[in-house]
Amino acid sequence: MDLDLLEERYQQLTVELHPDFYANASKRQQQQSELASTVLNRAYNTLRNPVARANDLLPRLAQGAALDERQLPSGFLMEMFGLQESLDELLESGIPEEIAQTRTDLTERHATLISGLALHFAEAEATAPPSTLQTLQTDLNAERYLHRLLERFPV
């Protein structure tokens, strides 16, 4: 994804469509402008975020085939429960170095998962066997967990 190009096109389109420029237009035009801007913002937000992009793209690649949105990599859930608990204690204790270290570890893991997704996606787009698609979905499910965990850390 060429993020600079995305930004440039987004700016061009939003200046065309934004409701602020239609405050004096007919009710119908105002509604259309608001709707168009909403769709544009949604597309922009999806495209610029790799995970959002993956979540949007996967059902399209699956072409209607059902993917299990709850399945997780084996052993992942148990590991997460463990992590959750130690994180509760850690955040409670408030030792800054340990919190920072755990956060760095989790961030790295999250990043590795995402770069793995990118590789699998390139594969899936070329061939798209159902098993690869479910692997992708499973990884995306795991990403949600990790993301939530990361959100618990104070800035």
């Binding site: 700016q11 939003t14 200046v15 934004h18 409701p19 602020d20 420029f21 239609y22 405050a23 004096n24 237009a25 608001e34 801007s37 909403t38 769709v39 913002n41 949604r42 922009y44 937000n45 939530r148 959100e151 618990r152 800035v155």
Partner: protein
């Protein structure tokens, strides 16, 4: 093209601005202070708003309402701390609303804010000599949906159509951006009387894009006053342990002295004070240094910096990457605040635009743009806090994350749990925490009219839309049958449409007596000015008027005086006009004219 004015509805002060031929300007009747203090006092069944109400904080503390913005869209539990400090009574009302009780009357914060807006509107109308019915009103960026809805309801009660609810730091960025025309990252640090916001923007060409925002809707200059009040109270008790602070008067004198100390410390390293407490029979004196003050407010300033870190973290930027830091809000004149901001961002903040006026001016510019459909610049703002719904186990499921550019929309599918279920309850929350109990409940809605089907079969698509005002709109459609599910959102903190309508109806009944009360005050001020003018040029009167004429003038002055004691504004106006007629020969002489013009008396 109908004018859309910009209004900064502040915790402490409010003001209006618009674009005139010379450019954006605050609006006020000529010669008057453009700032309307956000203070209102109840006097024999009428409201007096602004400067005239400020003095009443000391003399009639139970009838005088200030900082009403802090009450907007909040409930009694959330306000527990504030309520303890307020001299007027705040009571719980139905559905988590609060009301202010004055004597036997009760008012919602929306109604009280509406009175302030009405006064701002009236002053703008006088200044512009035209009717004003549309406005852009600013709110703290970190205001949630309930607080925004409350602000919109207040405007409606004041007879204003809100064309746009604009975030205060964003408004400031417009004023700054159009002034400087420099591309880059801008941090707007907005510390007002009661709220704090930090917004990060990227300015590129005519696009002003908010990247991230963070804040605290319960942190501001009021809290600085409170710290000084604590200091004064501690010192006072050390010397006079017998003093109690139960009386509203004592509290208000303490508050007034604290406020004065704060203001003086912005200009000098230390200041002496005298705390006048006639009700306690003492008059303690003392000295406060800037260092002492800064030590007291350091934790508050640290809270603002924590917000700065959060916003920067969310944007993936660092403090060093900011090309400019703009200070907004009256509390940013405090030297300790400036120093802390400068240290944090590693650069001198931009202070070229008056921090008291910049928000109103930005709103005025945005109103001008909206009114004319102009494409001079485009502002893209974000939603400050995530929006979502309650899912199993009381967890908060975020549908729209914080810092998403608005307008935004997310659709979510719902289904039934039991066979032939025809309605689904959905609870809407706003916040950044994991559990709904730690988030703000905005309201709940019921999806009705779902066709009877086996459990799990109906698919109801609910669209959560955040419009360009940052306000939530919910709509729903059942996918299988294609029928639009009925939806009715019951706000948790706000007023329903019918409640707004009811208040509006009542307010029409009050409008005439309110108008009379306000005019009485204004005419009274005019009369006082005329008396001063006449006394000042009495030597001219002795030279130009006959004894009979002078006697007539004196008699008419007495008539005006007694008319001021009456309650009829129209009658007072007639007597003032008659007095003006009698002063006309005075105005015809050079000195008389000079004196009368100086006092802005238009004779005749």
């Amino acid at each position: 093209m109908e004018r859309i004015i910009g209004i900064d509805l502040g915790t402490t002060n409010s003001l209006a601005a618009t674009v005139i031929e010379d450019g954006p300007e605050v609006v006020a009747p000529s010669g008057e202070n453009p700032i309307t203090p956000s203070v209102l006092t109840r006097s024999s069944g009428n409201w007096i708003v602004g400067e005239a109400a400020v003095a009443q904080r000391l003399t009639a503390p139970e009838q005088t309402v200030y900082s009403v913005k802090r009450l907007m869209g909040r409930d009694v539990e959330e306000l527990a701390e504030e309520i303890k400090e307020l001299p007027y009574a705040v009571i719980p009302a139905q559905r988590k609303l609060v009301k202010v009780r004055i004597g036997t009357e009760e008012f919602t914060p929306q109604e009280l804010s509406a009175e302030i807006l009405r006064e701002v509107k009236r002053r703008a109308e006088t200044a512009l000599d035209e009717t004003v019915s549309k406005a852009v009103i600013t709110v703290p960026a970190y205001f949630d949906d309930a607080q925004r809805q409350a602000t919109r309801a207040a405007a409606k009660l004041a007879g204003l159509e809100v064309v746009r609810i604009l975030n205060e730091p964003t408004a400031a960025a417009i004023a700054y951006g159009l002034d400087e025309r420099k591309d880059g990252y801008v941090a707007v640090y907005d510390l007002g009387g009661g709220t704090f916001d930090l917004s990060l923007l990227k300015l590129s060409g005519k696009l002003f894009k908010v990247i991230a925002t963070h804040g605290d809707t319960r942190l501001g200059g009021d809290d600085f006053d409170r710290e000084l009040m604590t200091l004064l109270r501690e010192r006072l008790l050390a010397e006079h342990p017998e003093v109690t602070f139960e009386r509203a008067e004592t509290q208000q004198r303490l508050r007034k002295t604290a406020e004065e100390i704060k203001i003086r410390l912005s200009g000098s390293p230390e200041t002496a004070y005298t705390l006048e407490l006639p009700e306690c029979g003492i008059m303690p004196q003392g000295l406060v240094t800037q260092a002492e003050f800064e030590e007291r407010i350091a934790p508050l300033i640290e809270r603002t910096l924590a917000s700065c870190r959060k916003a920067l973290g969310a944007a993936g930027l660092t403090a060093e990457q900011m090309d400019e830091v703009v200070l907004v809000g009256g509390s940013t004149v405090v030297p300790g605040v400036r120093k802390a901001v400068e240290r944090f961002f590693g650069r001198k903040p931009h202070v070229a635009i008056d921090p008291y006026k910049v928000v109103a001016i930005g709103a005025g510019i945005q109103g001008h743009l909206l009114a004319g459909g102009r494409r001079d610049f485009l502002l893209l703002d974000v939603i400050p806090l995530a929006l979502g719904i309650e899912t199993l186990g009381g967890t908060f499921s975020k549908l729209i994350t914080a810092n998403t550019t608005i307008p935004a929309e997310v659709a979510e599918m719902f289904t039934t749990n039991v066979d032939n279920q025809t309605a689904i309850d959905v609870n809407i929350y706003q916040g950044e925490r994991e559990l709904v109990e730690d988030c703000r409940n905005l309201g709940r809605f019921k999806l009705r009219g779902i066709p009877p089907m086996p459990a799990g079969l109906p698919l109801v698509e609910v669209a959560f839309r955040v419009d360009a005002n940052g306000l939530l709109i919910v709509s729903a459609k059942e996918q299988r049958s294609g029928t639009a599910a009925e939806i009715e959102v019951i706000p948790s903190h706000g007023l329903t449409q019918s409640e707004i309508d009811h208040i509006l109806e009542e307010s029409f009944d009050h409008a005439i007596s309110d108008f009379n009360a306000r005019q009485l005050i204004e005419f009274g001020q005019t009369a006082a000015r005329m008396f001063r003018g006449i006394e000042q040029c009495w030597t001219v009167a002795e030279a130009t008027l006959s004894t009979e004429e002078r006697q007539e003038l004196r008699t008419q002055m007495d008539v005006v005086r007694s008319s001021m004691q009456g309650g009829d504004a129209a009658a007072l106006k007639r007597q003032i006009d008659a007095l003006g007629e009698l002063t006309r020969p005075l105005a015809d002489t050079a000195m008389g004219r000079a004196v009368l013009e100086e006092l802005q008396i238009a004779a005749g």
